[in-house]
């Protein structure tokens, strides 16, 4: 069930706050060597094209790499069916937050890098001809931390699903609540959860898909509130960061701790699903649980 190679030791993780992980990196970045890359998990040399064609999953060891929101959407929805919404919603630096870099500058830099206003893509789509509202987080943008914009778009997506009677699918990957918006970020946890209460009251379906890594305030709000919760293999999923826990309890963390399979074993994830099966599984679950 566990693979020591893909379970980073606590020492390779940054120091993290209990509800907020800023940048939990993968153990090693896949080293780009032109057309080739080395798998950070099994260290096999892989032809990049082959990896892309394999949905960004290592053909040798099945390691699921983190992927861009655009790729995720392409993998899940019927071709051309994604209709993006609320794309102009952008972050503001209300607090005037400055650490080593001003938040204002971070926003500009991340927007240039990704071509998007913030870390969440949302819209209507069809998955195998089933109409859904889909939201996908993109870790390229400030580790997909949840500030006002992410919280607002998740909330709007849930409200739209409630209004139009469409299942809501959220693919999570996040370092947690965004520190640079402080208690405004914290409030997004309550806001998104409140919206899910209304969807639930209306009998709507929410499928939460957890991918590597889903942590902190995102896990402790909408991500853990799925009627159905799916997770990608070996995805890191937790509330507190492994390093914080290791420092607090002063002992080695168990093998596979906070990985998708661990959560399924403990009863918090319905199914660990391989990326190639995700689209089919979502469609099938909608047939059982959707309206």
């Amino acid at each position: 069930m566990t693979d020591a190679k893909t379970t980073p030791s606590p020492a390779t993780r940054p120091i993290n706050g209990p509800a907020n992980w800023q940048t939990p990196p993968e153990k090693k970045q896949a080293v780009p060597e032109g057309l080739w890359m080395r798998c950070p998990s099994c260290e096999a040399m892989l032809y990049k094209k082959a990896v892309e064609q394999n949905l960004h999953v290592c053909p040798e060891c099945e390691h699921h790499y983190r992927i861009h929101a655009e790729d995720r959407i392409d993998q899940l929805v019927d071709p051309g069916s994604f209709e993006p919404l609320w794309e102009d919603l952008g972050p503001t630096d209300t607090l005037g937050f400055v650490d080593r870099v001003p938040y204002k500058d971070r926003i500009v830099k991340e927007q240039k890098k990704t071509g998007h206003k913030d870390a969440l893509h949302a819209g209507r789509a069809f998955i195998k001809a089933r109409g859904v509202v889909l939201a996908v987080m993109d870790t390229r943008f400030m580790m997909a931390s949840m500030g006002s914009v992410v919280g607002e778009k998740i909330t709007r997506a849930i409200e739209l699903g409630t209004k139009e009677d469409r299942p809501v699918i959220v693919v999570s990957a996040s370092g947690g609540a965004r520190m640079q918006e402080s208690s405004l970020s914290l409030a997004q946890m309550a806001k998104t959860s409140a919206a899910l209460a209304r969807l639930d009251d209306a009998g709507g379906l929410f499928i939460s898909v957890l991918t590597d890594p889903t942590t902190g305030g995102v896990t402790a709000s909408f991500a853990m509130l799925g009627d159905l919760i799916l997770a990608e293999p070996k995805a890191l999923i937790g509330f507190a960061g492994p390093r914080v826990i290791a420092n607090t309890v002063r002992q080695e963390l168990p093998d596979g701790f906070q990985r998708a399979e661990f959560l399924q074993e403990k009863g918090f994830v319905d199914r660990v699903v391989h990326r190639k099966d995700l689209r089919n599984e979502i469609a099938r679950l909608i047939d059982y649980a959707g309206k």
Binding site: G17, P18, T92, L95, A195, A197, A240
Partner: protein
């Protein structure tokens, strides 16, 4: 009602050090003016009473000055003062017939969150509060106010009882954060908090929450979704502790970076009121709640009595809608 004792320990806030010389002088003069003591070598013509009064006045003036310009990092220190009244102190002070309820009926009884029925003024309520602990044994038992999933589940179980029997809910928030441990993760810390957020948002009974000390992150919010959310004047409320934030964004937690993070996080009551994340501030006695705990308890009781009276006027459907709109409206963005 029980009077709360003022703090008598030796803990000293560094930024209050200018006061200690004055306090020592006042103590000495008071000892000398004590009629039971033979005032040996003292000029009988010196009016000690007026001297003491003068020193007291400058002490008060200095205290006012210090607390007026209190840096956010120092506010955090006041919020963590060992003599600061805790939820159980307030419960002893003004909750009549407090009847504690234990356990989540699933795993155990978490001492970091305490729940029970009782009366506040004319209102029968359910009270939920973080418990940090007083002496060492109590603190360890309460995990220093860092709750496990079973604490959040106990709180929700009791809140559902309150809903069923038509009792409003009062929560007193005081935690550095939910406990980051192996067992906590295994038993679903994130799920427990998330479920509380969802269920408190739609609980069909009024909810008033007050951050009385530390409002650390999801661990605070887990019992802090409310119709009215208030903070005591020197409490803090933020997405992460200043130390946690400094460790990540400044790469190290030192006294300087902790203070910088506290400043950047806008975690004080005034800042939160400005951000719209809280509704009210309850003023503390001069120099913090630990100096006049009974006075603080009176003010908190008055606030709760009034807030409950206001919220009870609403039809419950309207109140739950209003609560949704309150939560829904928080956030700052451009479109």
């Amino acid at each position: 009602m029980t009077q709360l004792n003022e703090y008598t320990g030796n803990f000293e806030l560094e930024f209050e050090r200018p006061l200690t010389a004055l306090e020592r002088q006042i103590d000495e003069l008071e000892a000398q003016s004590d009629p039971n003591r033979s005032a040996t070598g003292l000029d009988p013509n010196v009016d000690l009473g007026s001297e003491i009064r003068k020193l007291r006045q400058s002490h008060t003036a200095m205290l006012k000055k210090i607390y007026k310009g209190l840096a956010p990092g120092n506010t955090v220190k006041v919020a963590r003062h060992p003599g600061r009244p805790q939820a159980m102190d307030y419960i002893h002070a003004f909750v009549k017939d407090f009847t504690e309820l234990h356990g989540d009926r699933q795993f155990g009884d978490d001492h970091a969150i305490r729940c029970g029925f009782g009366r506040i003024g004319p209102h029968k309520v359910l009270v939920v509060g973080h418990h940090k602990g007083k002496d060492t044994a109590d603190k360890i038992k309460a995990n220093f106010g860092c709750a496990h999933p079973e604490g959040y589940r106990k709180a929700l179980r009791c809140m559902k009882l309150a809903e069923k029997f038509g009792l409003p809910v009062v929560t007193l928030v005081d935690t550095p954060g939910a406990y980051p441990g192996i067992g906590a993760e295994e038993r679903g810390q994130a799920e427990a908090i998330a479920v509380n957020l969802r269920e408190m948002a739609r609980l069909k009974t009024p909810i008033v929450s007050v951050v009385i000390g530390e409002g650390g992150s999801g661990g605070a919010l887990g019992i802090g979704v409310a119709d009215k959310l208030a903070m005591l004047e020197y409490a803090w409320f933020s997405v992460i502790s200043p130390e946690g934030c400094a460790a990540i964004l400044w790469k190290q937690a030192t006294p300087q970076t902790n203070a910088d993070a506290a400043e950047a996080l806008k975690l004080t009551a005034r800042d939160n009121l400005k951000l719209g994340t809280i509704d009210d501030i309850i003023d503390e006695p001069l120099g913090g709640a630990h100096r006049r705990p009974s006075m603080m308890a009176d003010r908190l009781e008055q606030y709760l009595v009034q807030a409950l009276r206001d919220l009870k006027r609403f039809k419950i459907e309207n109140l739950v809608n209003k609560r949704y709109n309150r939560l829904r409206s928080i956030g700052e963005m451009s479109e």
